[in-house]
């Protein structure tokens, strides 16, 4: 483990390391983190990353609100989270140090850019005395280096302006970290060639900065030795790429549409943290994808429903505030029974809340947040790569059951990354979809064995019919205010939801079939729960875990499973929304909500401590 950091060996092996790069939002910390990630991935480490950036595009330079961070956890063994506490903190200025030092492990390494610790910098960061000199960092290993000056010297011959030279600082820093953890430079050198292929001066300057940083590790003996984190040998064999949640989700939508032999029509409105899906799909026109940036969230879902009516797979992607606006149109989609995938990348609320921070607070809004009885299946992705699989699953349910489907992700998944074992495309199951073309005995609200009505798109001769939000008469689809018919239609819509349930696998229990505690998670809590439960199981504790990816309707067979555990602990980044649902669905079971609503995901330590507390009480 990492506690040995600082012992003086020329090359020391470590099992896993957590580094946090922190600087001003203009310092390029996200690029630095992504480069370190790419290099570590190619080296064969298991890894997980999480950026932490401000909602403001460019808060005033050097201030605390302007601090942008990127954390990477890379390991020689299987890991599940971006790590609780960093082993290394790279602080490009006093604000970055002040904001992040509280998270650093005791005895951890601080790499501080002394070039940015002048009196004015301290003042901008609202720091009273210079932490590099006032002994407040005595519990850590402090590495002081004037990166501003070093970059200036390294690039003395560069034709770039002195301002542009300073913008190469992040690659100097990256080079230094590459040296410390024995990483090769090739991946980043190649990336720079590609990134700035029309700006050779920039390629050269950044490459020189990277190499200068790397060489500095050797020459200046700052670290008294290098570390090595070997490749992870427990990852299943296959081809991998590193992926974040939103890109995985976008790819899953394209895959789902292809499996259903449909094209996507995305209606969207820019909103953090879902806009990436619009950006990405806008580049997939050659996959037949139409993207429409509409005038508001409501228009976005309405355009998507219009697309579905006309024979496309309608998709809309948003976050909590957008979900609230789309509610009425979701009800219409339930009433007209058309396929629609609604993606909600949850963020901290209420209202605008904290747009770049993590929460799971849209669960109840997704399940119940519509007028009338308007059942919609709700899914939740559990890891960045799982966003791919769950997007396909959302497409499957939407198309096969002619229903809107809500897919929940969140900020932790959308921005976090992990290695993705690429699927064998031949193994992906086709989605059963056919448009009605036969006018013989056509009734727009007749139903197949799944309870789905026929999909008859305009332009098809003989199938002219009207749909809308007024209650429909069973079979004919005519407007009906009949009391018995309304009961029947309400029941049929609910029955369709329960028919979806029949196709949902019961999630497996990881751990003992009977135990004191079952930790039950959903969505992005999978990583920290897995990490904590694994450790407790190794220590012989009576703990199992289970994870839900279908959150509404809930899978079959849970009641029986739950009955084998004295307590079911439900950690959630909300005030216990799933626990509330479970308590009403399985009233004889013993659920305990474990809530965290800080805009931050659970750490493994959080969950570990909670379970331990329960076991010891």
């Amino acid at each position: 483990m990492t506690q040995e950091i600082g012992t003086e060996l020329p090359l020391q092996q470590q099992e896993s390391v957590v580094i946090r790069f922190a600087g001003d939002s203009g310092d390029g910390m996200q690029i630095t983190g992504n480069q370190f990630t790419g290099t570590s991935a190619v080296l064969g480490n298991d890894l997980a990353t999480l950026p932490d950036f401000p909602a403001e595009i460019r808060a005033p330079a050097g201030t605390r609100p302007g601090v942008s961070g990127f954390q990477i956890h890379f390991s020689a063994s299987d890991i599940h989270t971006p790590g609780d506490a960093p082993d290394v903190l790279v602080a490009m200025n006093p604000a970055a140090l002040a904001v992040n030092i509280g998270d650093l492990k005791q005895g951890g390494i601080v790499v501080a850019n002394t070039g940015n610790f002048k009196a004015t910098d301290l003042k901008k960061a609202k720091v009273e005395s210079n932490p590099l000199e006032d002994h407040s960092l005595d519990g850590y290993r402090l590495i002081k280096i004037d990166i501003n000056e070093r970059v200036k010297m390294a690039l003395a011959d560069s034709p770039l302006s002195s301002k542009d030279v300073q913008r190469c600082k992040n690659f100097y820093t990256l080079g230094l970290m590459y040296w410390l953890y024995s990483r090769p430079l090739e991946t980043t050198l190649n990336w720079l060639e590609e990134k700035f292929k029309n700006k050779p001066d920039l390629v050269k300057a950044n490459q020189m900065a990277l190499k200068a940083g790397y060489n500095a590790g050797d020459i200046h003996e700052m670290f008294q030795g290098q570390y090595e984190v070997p490749a992870c040998d427990t990852m299943p064999a296959g081809k991998y790429r590193n992926i974040m949640g939103n890109p995985a989700l976008s790819l899953g939508l394209v895959a789902g549409a292809e499996l259903a032999k449909l094209d996507i029509l995305l209606g969207a409105y820019p909103i953090t943290p879902a806009s990436d899906i619009l950006h990405q799909l806008a580049n997939y026109k050659h996959f037949g994808v139409i993207t429409m940036q509409m005038e508001d969230e409501i228009a976005a879902i309405c355009a998507a429903i219009g697309g579905s009516y006309a024979g496309y797979l309608g998709v809309t992607a948003t976050s909590g505030p957008g979900m609230a606006l789309k509610g009425e149109a979701m009800g219409l989609a339930v009433s007209v029974e058309l396929p629609l995938v609604i993606v909600d990348i949850q963020r901290a609320g209420p209202s605008t809340g904290m747009p770049t921070k993590v929460e799971q607070t849209d669960l109840l809004q997704s399940i119940f947040g519509r007028n009338g009885e308007a059942p919609i299946p709700v899914l939740a992705a559990s890891t960045p790569a799982d966003c791919f699989d769950m997007a396909i699953e959302a497409c499957r349910i939407a198309v096969e059951y002619m229903t809107p489907v809500i897919l929940l992700s969140d900020n932790y998944l959308s921005n976090g990354s992990e290695p993705w074992k690429l699927p064998n495309l031949e193994d992906l199951k086709p989605i059963d979809q056919k448009f009605r073309t036969d006018p013989e005995n056509f009734e727009p609200y007749s139903r197949d064995e799944r309870g789905a009505r026929p999909w008859a798109k305009p332009g098809t001769p003989g199938l002219e019919h009207r749909v809308g939000g007024l209650e429909k008469e069973h079979l004919t689809g005519n407007i009906s205010y009949d009391a018995d018919n309304h009961q029947l239609m309400t029941d049929l819509r609910q029955a369709k939801l329960m028919a979806v349930r029949e196709t949902i696998p019961t999630p497996e229990v990881v751990g003992p079939e009977k135990a004191d505690i079952l930790v039950l998670g959903w969505g992005s809590t999978l990583g920290p729960i897995t990490g904590a439960v694994e450790r407790l199981q190794k220590a012989g504790k009576s703990v199992a875990r289970m994870h839900l990816r279908h959150v509404w309707p809930l899978p079959k067979g849970l009641d029986e499973i739950f009955s084998h555990y004295k307590l079911i602990l439900v950690p959630e980044n909300n005030l216990g929304q799933m626990a509330r649902v479970l308590k009403s669905e399985y009233q004889s079971q013993n659920f305990l909500s474990y809530s965290k609503v800080q805009g931050k995901p659970f750490t493994t330590t959080d969950i570990l401590a909670k379970i331990t507390e329960i076991l010891e009480s």
């Binding site: 190619v42 081809k239 790429r241 050659h286 005038e295 697309g307 009516y309 149109a329």
Partner: protein, 333 residues
């Protein structure tokens, strides 16, 4: 587009549903004219698509025997944008009212017009909320007394033509529910236009705002109180066709018929159309009906679709494998 063997008749577009508007409602006339006019357009029945929001007029799709989508309040333009972009072969029509279009749907109508989606909008303007039983609407005049404004409304109304022009509409027209011939001509003009066609129809609500347009639209005075503007025709009006209008600097002047200007709705600048649209504010002036503006502009649905077909032509239809097996890949043995 497929070709129909037999041309449609008005009856072909009548659905089997009972029409449930109040007896005497202006909507009946609009429905009749729409069914008759659309049947003659040479478009197969299966390619007609009616979209509506909420309100009395928004029941319209149920009465047309073609594809129809009765959506939610104010949002018909957004649905229509999705439908038309998904399938530009469809002939897409929106039926909307003054509340649906300009209150709750105000944002959507301006963006539909801005984008110039090839959709025809029939605004049934009766200056009142009918289905919710008689509240003033965003086109009701100041001082209008209604259930929600017992001592008169204080908000200034929209002029639908001006709003449409302001949103950059490529086609703007006005007609009236009591002039079948004029309404037929106007609907035909809108059908022939490529791009969003915005047609305001003065529509009488017999229950909650009866006679709202009597001061201009009543048959006995109509000729003197309105001016029918048609492309290339002189701007003349009056029972005896003896009065005219001419545009001088930034004003519209009354003149004799032989001094009248020739009306050109295709002018690149919308300035004249704006001046004309304001005439209904002046009791001394005739109320403008007919074709206020018609210009060519890029059509959203075709342009959006073109980007897709061009991308496929250029790169070939995308292969999922290329998308997934991309970026920095590595093997684990």
């Amino acid at each position: 587009m497929s070709v129909t063997i037999a041309p449609l008749t008005k009856k072909d577009l009548k659905s089997d549903q009972d029409v449930r508007w109040c007896p005497g409602c202006g909507d009946y006339a609009i429905l009749n004219v729409a069914q008759a006019a659309l049947a003659k357009l040479g478009i197969p029945k299966e390619n007609f698509m009616w979209v509506s929001g909420i309100g009395c007029s928004s029941r319209f799709p149920y009465y047309m025997d073609c594809y129809g989508f009765h959506t939610i309040h104010g949002r018909a333009p957004a649905f229509a944008t999705g439908i038309k972009t998904a399938n530009p072969d469809l002939s897409v029509w929106i039926a909307t009212g003054d509340g649906d279009c300009f209150s709750i749907g105000g944002n959507h109508i301006i963006h539909l017009l801005r984008r110039n989606v090839d959709v025809k909008v029939l605004l049934f303007n009766n200056e009142i909320y009918g289905l919710t039983k008689g509240q003033y609407s965003p086109t009701s005049p100041v001082g209008h007394k209604s259930k929600s404004t017992p001592v008169g409304s204080v908000d200034r109304p929209f002029n639908p033509l001006s709003v449409a022009l302001g949103a950059g509409a490529s086609f703007v027209a006005r007609t009236m529910d009591n002039d079948i011939k004029h309404m037929t001509t106007t609907i035909n003009q809108s059908a022939a236009h490529k791009g969003t066609a915005f047609v305001e129809i003065y529509q009488n609500c017999v229950i909650f705002n009866d006679g709202a347009f009597n001061d201009v639209a009543e048959k006995s005075i109509r000729a003197d109180k309105t001016i029918d503007l048609q492309p290339g025709e002189p701007m003349i009006y009056g029972k005896d066709r003896d009065k005219g209008l001419r545009l001088r600097e930034f004003s519209v002047q009354r003149c004799s018929a032989d001094e009248a200007d020739i009306w050109d709705p295709t002018d690149t600048s919308p300035a004249r159309a704006f001046l004309i649209a304001q005439l209904d504010q002046d009791p001394e002036m005739p109320n403008p009906i007919g074709l206020i503006r018609q210009v060519d502009a890029p059509i959203f649905d075709l342009e959006a679709k073109k980007q897709v077909t061009e991308a496929i032509e250029k790169k070939g239809r995308g292969k999922l494998k290329d998308l997934i097996f991309a970026g920095d890949l590595w093997d684990v043995e």
